[in-house]
């Protein structure tokens, strides 16, 4: 009984800390993105609110809360309100199975630095994030706006197309580690990172992850020159903020999965594991922002052709090569 109570309290503390840190990272990710892009374009970015604009996320948040909550006259009201929730919840849920540190012991109790270690691990993340696409489809459809509908259609077609190569790119790692649990995958990278054994798999993962999160150069769903703001054109106030949060939470999730699958997770010398995990994740996220300020946007037909005609066969080829190498060794 007392054991169960301790477990429950520990779990709630872990969830509180992880969700709190996640939301904090999301808030400051927006500031970091604006700053990094500004400096890459020889600008300063936000400077007014706090030292170098450090309080900008708080100002933005407060502004969004006090904004008028507009629901368009001919929108499907229930679906319109539901869509941002459907987008946000899966995006924040995916973090549950990602290990962010080694097991530590406090007062003789060992605590795993992961919310929960389930044996279907990566399948949980893929399943949960595959529900997130409905936030986009339903949000665009319910707005009763042409740009929203077109944005939603493009966005969801893109997301489902690249979900395939995303799923396929991780198979190689699973064939080596023989487990779906992310904790086991980190453990089997004690000698070397899987990016060395699976360079092609990592490349495919990186490309599909960028397309999956609708980021530049694959940010067609919100190509402002043709679709205004894509599926969230009609959204305002905190509903808009929720879509925004979902996008950044997805970036964090795909970065965390990249770190766990290809860069040894929390493993690293000298520094504590949690710090290593955060450093690696920060570098992945920086890569996302760097891409955005460097590359122009794809055209939609190029995007779909690239996903189906190049990425999919190459991902299958990667699995074949991995299979042959494992047998030959």
């Amino acid at each position: 009984m007392i054991e169960a109570l301790i477990f429950l309290v520990l779990t709630i503390i872990k969830i509180g800390v992880v969700v709190g840190v996640l939301l904090l990272i999301i808030a400051y990710l927006i500031w970091v993105e604006r700053k990094v892009i500004a400096h890459m374009q020889v600008r300063l970015g936000p400077m007014r609110v706090g030292w170098h604009g450090l309080l900008q996320p708080i100002a933005d948040g407060l502004k969004l809360i006090f904004k008028e909550d507009i629901i368009p006259a001919r929108a499907s009201k229930v679906v319109f309100v539901l869509a941002p929730v459907i987008a946000t919840v899966p995006a924040l849920m995916a973090i549950a199975v990602i290990p962010f540190g080694d097991t530590i012991s406090i007062f003789g109790k060992s605590i795993d630095m992961v919310i929960t270690d389930v044996n279907i691990g990566i399948l949980f993340i893929l399943a949960v994030t595959s529900v997130g696409v409905y936030g986009v489809i339903l949000g665009g459809w319910s707005s009763n706006n042409k740009y929203s509908l077109l944005g939603a259609l493009r966005s969801s077609a893109q997301m489902i197309s690249y979900e395939l190569s995303l799923g396929l790119s991780l198979i190689g790692v699973i064939m080596i580690s023989q487990s779906l649990s992310l904790v086991d995958i980190v453990d089997s990278q004690a000698k070397y990172w899987f990016v060395i054994l699976q360079p092609l798999g990592f490349l495919i993962y990186a490309i599909s992850a960028i397309a999956e999160t609708n980021r530049c150069p694959f940010d067609l769903p919100e190509a402002e020159t043709e679709l205004v703001a894509g599926f969230h054109t009609e959204y305002s106030s905190m509903k808009f903020a929720l879509f925004f949060m979902a996008e950044y939470a997805n970036i964090i999730t795909v970065s965390a999965v990249a770190v766990t699958f290809f860069f040894g997770g929390w493993r690293g010398p000298y520094l504590p594991p949690v710090v290593w995990f955060l450093i690696k994740m920060a570098l992945c996220i920086f890569f996302f922002i760097w891409l955005r300020s460097t590359y122009p946007r794809f055209r939609y037909d190029q995007l779909m052709k690239f996903g189906w005609k190049i990425l999919l066969p190459v991902a299958l080829l990667n699995i074949l090569i991995t299979g042959l190498v494992i047998i030959l060794l």
Partner: protein, 118 residues
């Protein structure tokens, strides 16, 4: 066993609470002054033309259909991958037959222009 899914349930409740409370708070303290212009769909300042619920290209339907089929293929690969080292060469041949049959279908879609967005 099942206990490892309890944290997921708690996380779900926390996250849903967060999302819903956000919407409720902003609906309560935000201002409300709706006008007909404000509530009409945004079409770059021009009067909205017709309904937004237009029928759209069948290509999106084909993409969704192909996604369902290939997603099932991907799902079959996961149990295969975790058991791969014990299946060894036999497993590779089995999966090769499975994939080759699907690749014939894939080539067929390609030739019939299923991936084209002219």
């Amino acid at each position: 066993m099942l206990i490892s899914y309890l944290p997921i349930l708690i996380l779900l409740l926390v996250v849903m609470g967060f999302a819903i409370s956000n919407i409720i708070i902003s609906a309560l303290i935000g201002r409300h002054k709706p006008t007909a212009e404000k509530l009409s769909p945004y079409e770059c300042g021009v009067e909205p033309i017709g309904s937004a619920r237009e029928r759209f290209s069948v290509k999106f339907y084909i993409i969704a259909m192909m996604f369902v089929i290939f997603d099932i293929e991907v799902v079959f690969l996961y149990p295969w991958a975790v058991a791969y080292k014990s299946l060894a060469l036999f497993g590779l041949i089995e999966m090769a037959i499975f994939i080759i049959i699907l690749l014939v279908g894939y080539v067929y879609i390609w030739k019939r222009g299923g991936f084209e967005w002219e």
